[in-house]
Symmetry: none
Subunit: 190 residues, 4 copies
DNA sequence: GATGAATGAGTGTTCATTCAT
DNA sequence: CATGAATGAACACTCATTCAT
């Protein structure tokens, strides 16, 4: 029999991300994705049960990658602020170097498909971050507030800054990055 | 302009917002909006050139309202932090009391339609906020960073916290609100 | 506004029946029906909620017509056998003169759509037939067996004979018709 | 021929009949049949040129079986009515004991595929029945009418009664069966 | 101004069949 | 012989928009 063409599936994923970035989530139809991937629409249904599964599984894959990237070269022995800065910069690097992947997750998160994701599929990749922040709280280094609030002041500003649509005029050089992190730090530190 | 017409147009806008909240941006078709507004699809095309204009202008209207609400009872003579807190609480009140309008803007902002908005249409309503922040910078009360960065640390966390999807577990009482504002303040104050 | 074009709807019904007769129930797709009726596929969905409704309501309409035709010129004062013969000939005339309508009902009845029909919609047209047969039973003219069994020996042979596919070699002249009815009569009479 | 292959082909036939009974003729796609038979879709195309041939040949096989079953234990020396009753009961037994096979033939017969069958493939199995009926006619035991007409009064009522969709309320016990046969007999006897 | 009818182009999805192994 | 991968064409249906009144 014909062997499964891994390239084809990868082409589908790439086409999905590319199209979502180019024309948006809504307009990215299965047939357009198929055309972009040089594949028949029917082929997509070999790999994925339906459109939902294509979009959701693409999202989950990206989230896993993001989780892995965030924790790259993290040394938990370092001072807390340094760990956080590492995390932050890893996030920044991922966002800027994989703008299309990042943008896909942003669009996905605000789409009705986002309700269909079982976050447990990738939560494990983010668990170390919870743990680090919890330790910071316990050691009275950062404020004792819910995790979501910490995230709202650390990671959401990061995402905002990295979003060229929202921050057209901000040049993202070493200085602004440091400045932004230091603001995030001021927000959460005790 | 006849009174009857205004009612119709208003019904269309309300139906748009209501439907977007009920079934999402994607599924809100012109004919469904028309049905919800008790109006013919063709009628909508009397008021708006096309669907895009309907969605964009609805967005702009909400932005204008938001701008007006933000500046309610703002006394520029007060101390800077109090002014900011007022702004912040006005924003919080708007979001929680007009969740449907807010949710519409969120969905709109992450749709491809958002590229089509000319922000100058509502910027004037937000201009006082720019001015206040600028004064704060000049008086060395807050950090001297681009406006978007300030916004990223003041208003985006607010929106994040008010988003029930993102912050399921956070109860929004007086205490958490104060806490959140104080974190935002720590982030931007000098 | 544009007024509803009765001709269009009729064209759709005719096209449905015609196509079902030409290419069968299964191959008669909405788009083919639309093309045959010189109408856009979308137009069909103005008249009918979905394909099912188109097929079912076409069936019901034909059944109503059949019911009306069967009872044409029936004089319940006549002898029982004559009434039955009248019914029988009315049926025969309908089948042979509206072969396409009849064939549609045959195909429909053996399609999965047939489960979706609420027979109460047309039962009223056939009620007089029930009544006549019941009277025949009570007056000990015909055998006291369930209605379906009577039908199986009166009307199903009729349908079989009128079906050119099943009875290729039988010429349907006055003599064969009389012969067939007399066989049906022998089957049910006491 | 290898044993393994026969199993596969038989599995395909069984799957075809089973699926047609479960989900109907229309929905029974080649891939679903293949899945049900634990076989690749491509395998089916080794045994059959195309879907049509699969369906038609399955039909023909069933017809052959039916022919064989009808003639089981037929003793042409018996009185004519007894022979006929034997045939009739054999038919009844086949229908009730192989409802799935019978239902398949019913669905097939009212599908456009039925035009593609060459009845000569199985006619030989039914030839004895022709012969018996012909003798009955010659011996002036039954009416001298075309074979199809006899069939319409003997076998079609039988099929009608055995069709649970058409005869929901009729319980098929010894008594009703006898009654039905006697009606058929009244119809054809001289 | 206001409308319901009408539509071509598109949607997600399944199909019978063929390909390459 | 047997297979899972692959596909173009078709499916039922919805869309944003325009037409005719």
């Amino acid at each position: 029999m014909r062997i499964k063409d891994e390239f084809k599936q990868e082409a589908v994923i790439n086409a999905t991300v590319k199209l979502v970035n180019q024309i948006g989530f809504v307009s990215s139809s299965v047939s357009k994705i198929a055309k972009e991937a040089n594949v028949s629409p029917a082929t997509i249904y070999i790999y994925y049960k339906n459109k939902e599964e294509l979009l959701v599984s693409t999202y989950v894959e990206i989230k896993k990658t993001l989780g892995r990237e965030l924790l790259k070269n993290i040394d938990e022995a370092k001072p807390f602020r340094d760990i956080l800065f590492n995390l932050w910069m890893n996030g920044f690097d991922f966002i800027t170097q994989n703008r299309d992947l990042f943008q896909y997750t942003e669009q996905f998160a605000s789409s009705p498909y986002s309700d269909l994701v079982d976050s447990r599929e990738y939560d494990v990749y983010f668990e170390p971050i919870y743990r680090v922040l919890k330790k910071g709280t316990e050691q009275k280094i950062i404020k004792n507030v819910p995790f979501e609030m910490l995230a709202a002041f650390i990671f959401f500003p990061l995402m905002t800054l990295a979003n060229p649509k929202l921050c057209k005029s901000i040049e993202l050089n070493k200085e602004t990055i440091d400045q932004a992190f230091s603001m995030a730090w001021d927000a959460i530190k005790l």
